[in-house]
Symmetry: C4
Subunit: 370 residues, 4 copies
């Protein structure tokens, strides 16, 4: 992939997002019923390649259970409201009634409450009790402090995620940084790490022994990282770069690392594009925040949104479009692809002539002018 000069003294590469690309059908079509959407990571097998983002507007213990029952896996944010407040539902109710002008500042305050280890145990237990795979996310800065609690709670799968940056950590630079490589190899449970958006960063994360890497920086409907910090990596290019890192890592170690596209997807078609670019699964935020039972109650935000000094994005409104079951499995009576994400992905694969996710990664793509 060629670099080019943006001026006489600086080079750049060109990058593409999902909106820039389209999938090309082959000459064959398949029956949507013949499509296999199962996704395997480590010892787990999911009916769908869908993770729900570790965002308080998307995943509560109860929606994690519902998403698990629908075939995916919800990721609970261990540094969010559910582990800071016994009555998290009440806090979420309050947030939903804030007016826009006041919301950022009030939310900044709410996220300053301490994380309570007992709540970590309680929330994970609630999910485990429902018989679905429990999965939760924590930042590298907080991982050491809480890992014993997490292991005690018998978590199914751990996500160590940088953008899930604990608000308090900003001024807390006295702790020794987490050595992911040593740490991950010492754990029994599978770990997913992220987010990254480049070949070098992905290769680095793969070498830690993680079961999967999250791909996506400066994406997502509730994020303004690109505007506020100038940082970003359009998803199609980011996934293609990380895919190349996986090929190299596989060649060097024989280990196939799962790639999970995180952000920038609104429809089953966007999920399809992520798969074609190299993802094995996707992590969905805003599309699931649009569920009638979503904890955000019509609002969506991330942890960067409540950064204490440099908020990147804010609380954005999301119009409820159906239940979680409907958003995931349909049937849809909407015409914009916001409902029936699995059906959209299935239909896309069928129309293009592919029957499983790994095969679909071979599909050809076109780039159009905007």
């Amino acid at each position: 992939m060629a670099e080019f000069d943006i001026g006489k003294g600086k080079t750049a590469r060109r990058a593409y997002g999902f909106d820039d690309i389209m999938i090309v059908p082959t000459r064959r079509t398949r029956d949507p019923e013949d499509i296999d959407l199962t996704w395997e990571i480590d010892a787990y097998r999911f009916d769908l390649p869908f993770m729900a983002s570790a965002m308080d507007s998307v995943v509560s213990p109860s929606t994690a259970i519902e998403i698990g029952q629908q075939g995916g896996v919800g990721v609970l944010n261990l540094e969010g409201l559910w582990t800071r407040y016994e009555n998290a539902d009440g806090i979420l109710e309050e947030i939903s009634t804030l007016d826009n002008a006041a919301s950022v500042q009030r939310m900044q305050q709410l996220y300053e409450a301490p994380v309570i280890p007992e709540l970590i145990v309680e929330r994970i237990a609630e999910i485990n009790a429902a018989g679905v795979v429990s999965c939760a996310a924590i930042s590298p800065q907080r991982t050491k402090a809480h890992i014993d609690t997490i292991l005690t709670a018998d978590l199914g799968m751990l996500v160590i995620q940088q953008p899930v940056l604990s608000a308090e950590h900003v001024s807390n630079n006295d702790s020794e940084p987490l050595n992911l490589k040593t740490f991950i190899r010492g754990l029994e449970l599978p770990v997913i790490v992220g987010d990254c958006a480049s070949y070098a960063a992905a290769l680095h994360l793969m070498r830690t022994g993680a079961a999967g890497v999250l791909v996506g920086v400066g994406t997502g409907r509730a994020s303004t990282v690109r505007t506020v910090l100038g940082i970003g990596g359009p998803q199609a290019t980011a996934l293609a770069d990380v895919r190349a890192a996986r090929i190299r890592h596989l060649d060097e170690t024989g280990v196939y690392t799962q790639i999970i596209a995180d952000g920038s997807m609104a429809t089953g078609g966007d999920v399809a594009k992520a798969i074609v670019c190299g993802a094995d699964a996707v992590m969905l935020g805003a599309p699931l925040a649009a569920a009638v039972e979503a904890p955000g109650r019509g609002w969506h935000w991330g942890v960067q949104s409540v950064h204490p000094t440099v908020p990147q994005g804010g609380r954005v409104p999301v119009e409820p479009v159906g239940t979680l079951a409907e958003i995931i499995h349909g049937p849809s009576h909407a015409d914009d692809g916001s409902v029936n994400l699995a059906g959209g992905l299935r239909q896309s694969m069928a129309m293009c002539g592919y029957t499983d996710l790994k095969d679909f990664q071979k599909a050809e793509i076109l780039v159009s002018q905007k």
Copy 2:
């Protein structure tokens, strides 16, 4: 046409739509009256290279007759309302009065009624009786079931079209797929097949012995296939690719297959662009749905719009701009090109210096930044 990397692990090709291109005039102009717009396919000769899309909002038996009398050919959808309901006009009237929120779900229901063979015969007979060429479309999944009825009805030209996907078929995967090659060669009447958007798919369809292929996937004003499924092929590139397939097929077999651009055209200028990119004729939907006598009564939709589980697009409003005769032949008193499509095409060819459609395919084009 060079592939390029969108990232280190995935390549793509660049694709162009009609909005990206412009036709370049030669140094000569012609008199619009000297322009020949006749189109020949198999034994038929039409005054105009215009087919009307097999969409219930565009083609009814009566508009098929009117379009035939104006020089083109209307394609009746054999899996639409006219073959499911004796009183199709009443159903269309009901649809026109639905409010937007309810329309997708009610239309999904309406398209669940069974196709009635007697109505197929009746509708085709009505068109034949008027002395114009009858033409109708059916999906590959339904072709075997209805071909005897169709032949009995003495249809003039058959369109076998994938996106005209019967709603019921989705869960009906027990029938053996249609072998187009054997099937088409066994028929007396000319067959047009589609839609396709690539070199390989077009070559495959040409080798079935079809008289023409339809080009267009994820295009059309009432379609959101690109958004909902992530699939698409901008028309200028799709036509240019299919044109190359025609050259190869002609070289291999001596047979010239008609290329019919399907979708993405709003004006005579858009039709002109389709021709220049390689089309011999065009299939028009939304522009004809804007006729005062259009069965959609101010609304336009396709069969994907009423897909039972993953609707792609919905019922879109179209402002009536004139009679079918005026939309096709003018004169126009509108300034946006929506009226007098034949006149616009004629004027475009005259200004660029070409006198017939085949010659016009040589015209040069420019691509502009958006």
Copy 3:
């Protein structure tokens, strides 16, 4: 300039408009007072390189005089309202009061009145009497019929312009086409011909012996040729192509042909871009239709707008921004560049470090993404 494939079976070239480009300053600036804007064509010398378009909303005999007195030259349309109606002012007043729905049809009717030779003589005489250079435009189809009248009237400069297509001519194909080469060489007065947008067409026109060629197809604020007919040529590329034709013509004949950019300019900065791309002068429509004394009375339209069967564009509103003197010479109290076009051009040349128009054609340009 490389061609590229837009698909496997069709090539194209990339083209750029004024909005795509910017002028690069040199390391030197000049004093605006030192800038020379004079323009010479044949034996005429104008203070400014500004022609006013042969459009009824822009040039009347009285505005032609005013524009001449301000340093430019107005071109009267010899097939417009002034040569069809003795009381053209009354007709223009009527047009200004039409409601939008009715305007195209009524204007189509008004332009069906015959051209009256006596009025040609009368209008030209009025302009000549004021002591400014008279200039008028006619279509090639009408040139033979009226040339004697034109010569009798002692016109200063003739424009033979294709888009000034007489409405009646459309069905009148019995006359022998005008041989421009023979015709122009036989005349005493300088002739400007157009419009063209390509190297080949421009070279052809230059070889007729014309003093100047007009460049611009599918441009201009009142034109929808690009939409309605699919035809166009973005101005920066069109001018650069025609400039190359001029170099070749100069090499072959020793004759330097004037290039006049016609359309797509709204400010002095746009005029500057036209010059830098190769133009010696510009023809302005919409910017001058915004004069308080403009005959269009707050409306702007071209002859394609009133085409009897395929109108391309319509009557567009233009907000009056000042007198002709103010629009041309300022001073401006507006901040959008719509007033003081000569001042804007002068300021642009000064900031970039050039003192005359020919020198300014050397300036460097940048192309930006949109």
Copy 4:
């Protein structure tokens, strides 16, 4: 950096703005507290690489002091209202109450008052008295006339800036132009010159011995130079070009010239992009005009906005978003990056893995389609 043909007779280069690019994180992140934002120019050391633009809506003596106390440096316009009117605050109050229609003309009048040397001395003295570095801008045309006054006033740093073009100078071409090279070398205080946007112009300015060059032409929220004059240079490309000039100048002379990006930045992320493209510091206008204590009182304009004959841009409204201290250092309760510019820059560098500004210039960038 390759040139390409925009047509057969003219070449161009492609250029990129901040909106076209994104910064790519490395595989490492840093703690925001470890980031060093200090900027050194000549003998001065500032806590932040922020200059405030020499615009009357941004810098008054009191805001210059406040900006200095916050770690940056405010540049007072020596040809603005503060050196023309003893009661500049009253004049600014009047401007804030003008209605939009009248504002350009009234402001043109207000800037016709003469510059009063005593006020130059008084304003600089006020800033010096507060113990911050005084900095002020003047145009090359006025430099000779006022340099003795400036030196008497004991100014800390001088900016000689072309776009700070005195209104009166336009018709005053009798004075000998300033020889920057001789002039700057003869001064004791450090001089910053600009603006430029190209390699050649920057190299020329660096060779004058200036301590820094300003980069930016046709940028900035209150400027319409690109529209009105057709001139411009997107900032990412301009900075990369000037960076190459610095490398050459450093190679030829051993002197490292500071590059200061001037305009086109709204957030800390935009500042980050400027640094990555090669800037050592930035000059901010509109973002600081949004301070509650900004002299523009909710309005923002530049000196081109009040050009007596060709105004380029006008008085644009800016919504106050916080105090100067908040805009610079936060904390932010806004989600759009308009508040806490230093924090945004710091956070951007931390997320990308760089600890000081010079190191951050090495960061990689991506260009995306628009």
